[in-house]
Assembly symmetry: C2
Homo-oligomer: 146 residues x 2
Amino acid sequence: MNIIILGCGRMGSTMAIRLAREGHEVYVIDQEPDAFRRLRDFTGTTVLGNGLDPDVLKRAGIKRADAFVAVTNGDNRNITSVQIAKEIFNVPKVLARIYDPMRASAYETLGIPTICTTMIGAGLMTDFILGRAWGDVSSYCEILPD
Amino acid sequence: MNIIILGCGRMGSTMAIRLAREGHEVYVIDQEPDAFRRLRDFTGTTVLGNGLDPDVLKRAGIKRADAFVAVTNGDNRNITSVQIAKEIFNVPKVLARIYDPMRASAYETLGIPTICTTMIGAGLMTDFILGRAWGDVSSYCEILPD
């Protein structure tokens, strides 16, 4: 698959390395050149630029992308870029990481696939502290991606 | 249970509200007064101060705490505070949230219970993008808490 990852922080770089290792064609976009230092042993392509800029997205091959994942530190940026990928470039599979549980429920109503890592992490840690067995992931995630 | 949460960011406040709602006695520590604004409808106690300071921990009732969770934005701070809670105050159940997957594996060898939300999130998002069903949480978490 051709996969674009927007945001080369810890989450983005971890996904990029893993997906490239599995044989996928991976493009990682970030506006900070220093962010790419995290990509140790990465066999994909890095694209320097603003992920909301259609020209930058085109350089990352968005016209032939099968999937687009936004994992920058900004919820709004993630949501907006995913909407651009979906609505303008018709990328079949999109996903935005969201920190803010309050926003996540709003985006659900807009039909934008999001995953709220805060809700999942809080659920897992709560169960651990209370000595409860970990359940299925979907039990922690109020907003499930499509 | 008496539960102390260090760090009142999105993760900490989400856990605090949830645990208090379930009837637990919850103390939340943060050094930024503004952080407590996130605690809407919270019935527990807030403690302003540095979570590495034993006096602050005592104000949060650490001597009778059943559990201590560290979810500040600093991996080192989380690990250090959890070690203080465990080794100095003998808190039976401790857990540190870790962002950096590289550090997580080091802490595993030290026997410190950590949960690396980056690894879990990256695993879930990767599976979603590739169209694979979500597995058990432990399949995403290289470092499992004790």
